[in-house]
């Protein structure tokens, strides 16, 4: 069975590429345009991995991450945070709140794919 991945990002232009890439690689892809939507989809669909953008309307990536980690039933969900700021302090905050990985925009799609595979194997 193919792995399920949720892309949570309000930037439509990056979503297009990531969605295209992941589908081509054979993953089942879900998309959420804001934090609240992302949280609802995770609860309903139980994806294996969430690509979580930090800057999102309604609920930011950190809050979503914290909410996911607070729910023991969702502990198997892997979280890969995406950020457009890339400050060290922000990275460590994401990891401190329970994210499994962190990528700073602009990233190479190959690296992203490698990171996704790594997280889904473990």
């Amino acid at each position: 069975m193919s792995k399920k991945i949720l892309i949570a990002d309000d930037e439509q232009n990056i979503v297009i590429s990531i969605e295209f890439l992941l589908r081509r690689e054979g993953f089942e892809v879900l998309v959420a345009g804001n934090g609240e939507e992302a949280l609802a989809i995770v609860r309903a669909e139980r994806p294996d991995l969430v690509l979580l953008d930090v800057m999102m309307p309604k609920m930011n990536g950190f809050d979503v991450c914290q909410a996911l980690r607070a729910d023991p039933e969702l502990s198997a969900t892997r979280i890969l945070m995406l950020t457009a700021k890339g400050r060290d302090t922000e990275v460590s905050k994401g990891l401190g709140l329970g994210a499994d990985g962190y990528m700073t925009k602009p990233f190479s799609t190959k690296e992203l794919l490698a990171e996704v595979r790594k997280l889904l194997e473990t």
Binding site: E11, I14, F20, A70, K85, R87, S92, K93, P106, S108
Partner: protein, 731 residues
């Protein structure tokens, strides 16, 4: 006993003695005759001779005693009196006495007097020299300070200004709008200019520094502290604080083994530099952070196009669309960054290097302080502190944030003890405030971080998140289920130890005089705000006078001029004056124009009373107000309280009443009359400032006279004034 009585007694004794000798001679003669001739005969002649002899002897004896008394008792006594007078006045010598012995004594005494006179003039000469050199030193200091491009302010530990230069006055003046409420002045509080907490924080950071062995200087010293702050006029000042070290016997705060009695602030206006830096920072920041998103999309789309060339044309068009969009967005971003120069992003100027251990120690002390109310102090421990870690932070804000979080935990979750730890994480510093046990949910924690900080009634417009963002850090709340620990974790960029730490201030060696710091004013203590029991001589005064449109404040008469000057340390400050004309918004009576000579034309365009009074109120802060017939002027001021929004509730002394205390039998206590009585020359009367000056001089002359009457404190002066006031009312 009186000298003549002694004389009489001595003479009497002498006569009795002579009589005794004569009588015993007579008795002897009678006995001899009785032995020679049987039966014996009394010879009347012999008795008569004996009596005459007796009387003669007596007279001679008396005369001798009197002579001897005058020469040997009276003369030395006279000399003693002369000597007593001469010890009080120099330049006098004893005249030649009659006897040889006294002459020798007088000569010795004259020698002593001459030696004493020489010594006296020598001492006077030295005092003169010392005074001259002190005067020279002071004028050199004044010249030096006037020349400095930086502002210098010297304060004692209570924050009272002891010394400042012209530049400091300019830098700290409230604005260029002419309404110059002088914030800075001798004896005034620096806390009117700077936030008290800010200064106290800097004082806390004055740390003992070991002497520099390499410089061959093993003495201990105290380092200095820096902070940056904004003035009321919106200027940014970088302040460099150095301690003033006290000599022996001067009470001060101890830092290490050294006693600190005050501090020097050297201020530098960094508004422009910082604005420039901030603008550049913002530009870079917006380009980096704002560029990441669009670049990310661009790169991903481009990679898709090149990696998957087999894609459908519709798909290809979508990616090309993304590239066109994002390239456009990026260009806009770039233009905006270049244009938006003035929008300030982050106040980097607040950041300073501070040793992490030091910051935590201060934080622990601050959090563990006894609080107002029934709160028990919170127990604070520091654990796992990396003592080599330097931080680059707004330490004042960060401390405020830590204290706010800890005390809120105590208030709302009854947490009894908290811990602080600081560890290195690569090039980041991890600062944790944590506690064990008490549960707290994420939502509460989040709102604490975003609420404006407020502790024990003191509130700040900033939230914890604001402060941490200023420090380029992140803060979040986290729980560890296993260990039951909860913490606020802050990640901060680690700083580097500053390389050019300013040279520490080293105390003068024994016998060496510390330069310039010997002002008596250091001994002041404003610790007690109960002015009543403070000695009159120690208080600061605002001596003031007003001119008005008429004599009836309640009938609508208005103030048209306020003049005031200050008395600090028993000195009238002629250059720290308040002199302001005021537009009364009503006609002037002809009578009043005759008194003060101020005409309608002079008042046109002057500020109105509601604008002037707050400024004047600031001028009077922390002083006792002194006026002649002050009740009259105070009535005018108090009638304006509601309109102007300031209350003149200062202690007030009235030279008219004090004059009545001093000279109850004089018929007049007009200012001129008092001035004449006390020897004060009067000039420039009937301008408010001129009258205030005369009142001030008069008041200064009164202080020693009041002290002679036992009136030395403000309370005593007020009570005495009250008594005469009631006494005067009866007439």
């Amino acid at each position: 006993m009186q000298w003549p009585h002694k004389l009489v007694r001595a003479a009497t004794f002498a006569c009795l003695f002579v009589l005794l000798v004569v009588l015993s001679t007579a008795a002897l003669m009678v006995a001899t005759e009785a032995g020679e001739g049987a039966g014996g005969h009394w010879s009347g002649e012999r008795i008569a001779v004996l009596l005459v002899l007796t009387l003669t002897f007596s007279v001679v004896a008396c005369w001798t005693v009197a002579r001897a008394y005058a020469r040997h008792v009276n003369a030395p006594l006279r000399m003693a009196e002369d000597l007593a007078a001469m010890t009080a006045h120099s330049g006098l010598r004893l005249s030649d006495p009659a006897t040889e012995e006294l002459r020798a004594l007088a000569q010795a005494a004259n020698h002593l007097l001459a030696a004493r006179d020489a010594l006296e003039s020598d001492v006077a000469e030295r005092v003169r020299e010392a005074r001259a050199s002190l005067e020279q030193e002071r004028s050199r200091l004044a010249a030096l300070m006037a020349d400095l491009s930086q502002s210098v302010v010297v304060c004692n530990l209570d924050g009272r200004v002891l010394l400042y230069n012209q530049r400091a006055k300019q830098a700290l003046s409230p604005g260029a709008d002419g309404s110059n409420a002088e914030l800075l002045g001798l004896g005034r509080s620096i806390y009117r200019v700077f936030d008290r907490a800010l200064i106290e924080h800097a004082l806390e950071r004055l740390q003992p520094v070991a002497g520099d062995e390499a410089r061959g200087d093993g003495r201990q010293g105290i380092g200095s502290a820096q902070f940056v702050t904004a003035t009321r006029a919106g200027r940014l000042l970088r302040a460099h604080m150095s301690p003033v070290l006290g000599g022996d016997g001067q009470p001060g705060a101890l830092v290490g083994d050294l006693s600190v009695t005050g501090f020097v602030l050297v201020l530098e206006d960094v508004t422009q530099t910082n604005e420039r830096h901030a603008r550049r920072d913002e530009l870079i920041q917006s380009l980096i952070e704002g560029g990441r998103g669009p670049l990310g999309s661009l790169r991903a789309a481009a990679e898709m196009l090149s990696d998957f060339s087999d894609m459908a044309p519709r798909q290809r068009d979508r990616f090309l669309g993304v590239i066109r969009d994002e390239a456009g967005a990026l260009s806009t971003q770039f233009e905006k960054a270049a244009a938006a120069f003035s929008n300030d992003l982050r106040e980097r100027w607040l950041l300073e290097e501070i040793l992490g251990v030091e910051l935590l120690a201060v934080a622990a002390r601050r959090i563990g302080e006894q609080r107002r109310g029934e709160h028990r102090p919170l127990a604070v421990k520091t654990e796992n502190v990396d003592d080599s870690l330097w931080l680059r932070v707004d330490s004042f804000g960060l401390l405020q944030a830590l204290r706010y979080l800890a005390l809120r935990l105590q208030d709302e979750y009854e947490v009894r003890d908290v811990r602080l730890s600081l560890q290195r994480h690569g090039h980041l510093a991890q600062l944790d405030l944590y506690w064990v046990g008490t549960f707290m949910n994420n939502e509460a924690a989040m709102s604490w971080l975003q609420d404006p900080m407020s502790i024990d009634g003191e509130s700040s417009p900033l939230s914890v998140v604001d402060v941490i963002e200023r420090c380029n850090g992140e803060i979040w709340f986290q729980r560890e289920r296993v260990s039951h620990r909860a913490f606020f974790r802050t990640m901060l960029p680690a700083g580097e130890a500053p390389k050019d730490l300013p040279r520490a201030i080293i105390p003068a060696a024994d016998g060496e005089r510390p330069e310039f710091y010997d002002f008596d004013i250091f001994r002041w203590s404003a610790g007690s705000h109960e002015l009543d029991d403070r000695p009159l001589a120690e208080l600061s005064y605002t001596v003031f006078d007003t001119e008005t449109t008429g004599l009836q404040p309640s009938a609508g008469d208005e103030i048209i001029q306020i003049g005031a000057t200050r008395i600090v340390n028993r000195r009238l400050l002629r250059h720290e004056c308040f002199d302001q004309l005021i537009d009364p918004r009503r006609p002037l009576s002809q009578q009043s124009v005759k008194v003060h000579g101020i005409t309608r034309d002079l008042l046109a365009g002057q500020p109105v009373i509601t604008v002037v009074l707050p400024t004047f109120h600031a001028f009077c802060a922390d002083t006792v107000m002194v006026g002649h017939n002050a009740a009259f002027d105070m009535r005018f001021l108090q009638l304006k309280e509601r309109q102007s929004g300031v209350r003149f509730d200062h202690p007030v002394l009235d030279t008219l009443l004090l004059s009545a205390v001093l000279h109850p039998n004089q018929s007049t206590h007009r200012l001129e009359a008092i001035a004449e009585r006390l020897g004060v020359s009067v000039f420039g009367r009937h301008t408010a400032l001129g009258d205030a000056m005369v009142t001030g001089e008069v008041f200064l002359k009164m202080l020693p006279l009041l002290a002679e009457m036992g009136i030395t404190t403000l309370r005593q002066a007020r009570e005495a004034s009250e008594r005469t006031y009631h006494a005067r009312l009866k007439y």
